[in-house]
């Protein structure tokens, strides 16, 4: 039996920012239904990586493949395949929640009843009904994140890219977010999320990749790995630049 086609493949991608390599020779693969946690300290290159995966930023070199197709040659794939929630959900302050969802749906190619159904489904799932006529400019940070997530999920993407999605969320909202992530993964969506919260990774992800100074320093499954072992590996990499895969594997 042949191996399933990866939803996302990063092949030695490199990106410079402000004259220094923000991401250097990164290679990763993500299959459908997998939840990959991208860990790293501030400036490790997580957001740059996710912006490239989402199509908002072009890599200097290397290849990004979505469902086996070169993303640079087929940028239109972003429209249907990817849902992206950047670090601070960017919204148009003069539009309402409902208008945001409609606009994102249309930009992603949804029309007519398909758009109306997707709109209704996501509003119910993320409990945005009471906010639908509210302007985005007056939403709280948590509500903004919810709307950003709704926009990212509206078109049922195969790949969900979440950049620090739990930022500014209260514990109840974090629990709800984890539930959404688990639901999406169960439905076959490949998910890549960046965070610097170790608890977020152990609670929501089944694989972890640790970036340090733009390079991949660790990539492995989280099956059986406890929080302490992950924490130790993360700190080894973050403080000394080298991690111990043995500790994680033993755990």
């Amino acid at each position: 039996m042949s191996a399933p086609t990866a939803v996302l493949e990063l092949d030695h991608i490199t990106r410079h920012r402000a004259g220094r390599p923000a991401v250097s020779g990164l290679t990763l693969r993500l299959d459908s239904g997998q939840v990959l946690g991208l860990l790293g300290v501030n400036g490790a290159g997580k957001s740059t990586t996710l912006a490239m995966v989402a199509g908002a930023l072009a890599p200097d070199s290397g290849a990004i493949r979505l469902n086996g197709k070169d993303f640079m040659e087929h940028p239109e794939l972003a429209r249907s395949v990817i849902g992206w929630l950047p670090e601070r959900a960017p919204l148009w302050p003069e539009l309402t929640v409902s208008e945001h969802l409609d606009a994102h749906g249309r930009l992603r190619g949804l029309r007519g009843t398909g758009l109306a159904q997707a709109h209704r489904r996501i509003v119910e799932r993320l409990e945005l009904g009471s906010l639908s006529r509210r302007l985005a400019g007056v939403l709280s940070q948590g509500q903004r994140q919810r709307l950003g997530l709704a926009c990212a999920l509206l078109h049922s993407p195969q790949l969900l890219v979440l950049d620090e999605p739990a930022n500014a969320l209260d514990p109840v909202q974090v629990a709800a977010l984890r539930e959404v992530i688990r639901e999406q993964a169960a439905a076959g969506t490949a998910i890549i999320l960046s965070t610097h919260l170790l608890a977020e990774v152990t609670a929501a992800c089944d694989r972890v990749a640790i970036l340090h100074e733009g390079q991949l320093r660790y990539d492995g499954a989280l099956d059986g790995a406890d929080h302490k072992a992950l924490e130790q590996t993360f700190f080894d990499i973050a403080m000394r630049g080298n991690g111990s895969n043995d500790r994680m594997q033993a755990a």
């Binding site: 794939l77 429209r79 960017p90 003069e94 539009l95 208008e99 606009a103 249309r106 930009l107």
Partner: protein, 261 residues
């Protein structure tokens, strides 16, 4: 289809912001004032004018001067063309620069849209607003069409000239917005460019330079012949060149932004 989605979103954003409504109200109010002054002048002199063989009529004294004061002199109150020099930069300033400062520009890239479609979609939305504005301004002289003899050909030529002027100014404004880091800078540069292009030939004449290049560069010289009822391929081509070059520059800047980050 994606261009239509961009246009639709941009148009929605334009109509829910107070700026567009305030500009429309102020400018149409001012144009109504100009219309009553022009109409008053026409009514006061129409008996004398009727006696002149081939004398100016309603179109020459009210219809065309509503659109621009280039032929009539006396700038105040402004015609549509003079108002456009100010309001188009205000409308276009945040089209791209505003997205940049709001942090929403990457959303457009992440929607898989090429820079050309983003620019074109936004430009079309602005043009729809400006066409509506021009139509409302034209409705004033046209409201008396049943009682006067209109020179439809001359009015159509002048309207085409105004439409092309608005299209050129909007394209320049979009390009300035694509290059500027802040909306206010985009508005200032677009206003300066618009004023320079409108008056470069007059300034050159006053300085004693009679070089044909200044006339060719000047927007007003191309608009003037259309206001007189003369539509020439050279004038239309000039406007199209300005529009295409400005939109191409905006597209190139936006595409480079995705590359550079």
């Amino acid at each position: 289809m994606s261009v239509i989605a961009v246009t639709r979103l941009e148009l929605r954003r334009l109509f829910v912001r107070p700026l567009a409504w305030v500009l429309a109200a102020l400018t149409l109010g001012q144009l109504a004032w100009r219309f009553t002054l022009l109409l008053g002048g026409f009514l006061a002199g129409q008996i004398k004018l009727a006696a002149l063989p081939g004398g100016p009529g309603y179109t020459d004294l009210v219809g065309v001067p509503m659109l621009s004061s280039i032929l009539t002199g006396g700038v105040l109150p402004f015609g549509v063309a003079e108002l456009a020099l100010v309001i188009v930069p205000l409308l276009t300033m945040s089209v791209i620069a505003g997205e940049r400062s709001n942090g929403t520009l990457p959303l457009w890239f992440a929607a898989g849209l090429p820079a050309s479609r983003i620019v074109l979609g936004k430009y079309l939305a602005l043009m729809l607003w400006l066409v509506l504005w021009l139509a409302l301004a034209l409705a004033m002289p046209l409201s008396l069409a049943h009682g006067v003899t209109l020179d439809w050909g001359k009015l159509a030529s002048a309207s085409l000239g105004l439409l092309l002027t608005l299209a050129a100014l909007a394209a320049i404004g979009v390009a300035c917005s694509a290059y500027a880091s802040h909306a206010s800078i985009a508005a200032s540069v677009a206003l300066t460019l618009g004023l320079a292009m409108a008056g470069v030939n007059l300034a050159a004449q006053k300085a004693g330079a009679t070089n044909g290049v200044f006339n060719w560069v000047a927007l007003s010289s191309h608009l003037e012949s259309m206001l007189r009822g003369l539509v020439s391929t050279a004038d239309v081509a000039w406007f199209l060149i300005v529009i295409v070059v400005a939109l191409a520059l905006a597209t190139q800047r936006l595409a480079a932004e995705k590359e550079r980050g």
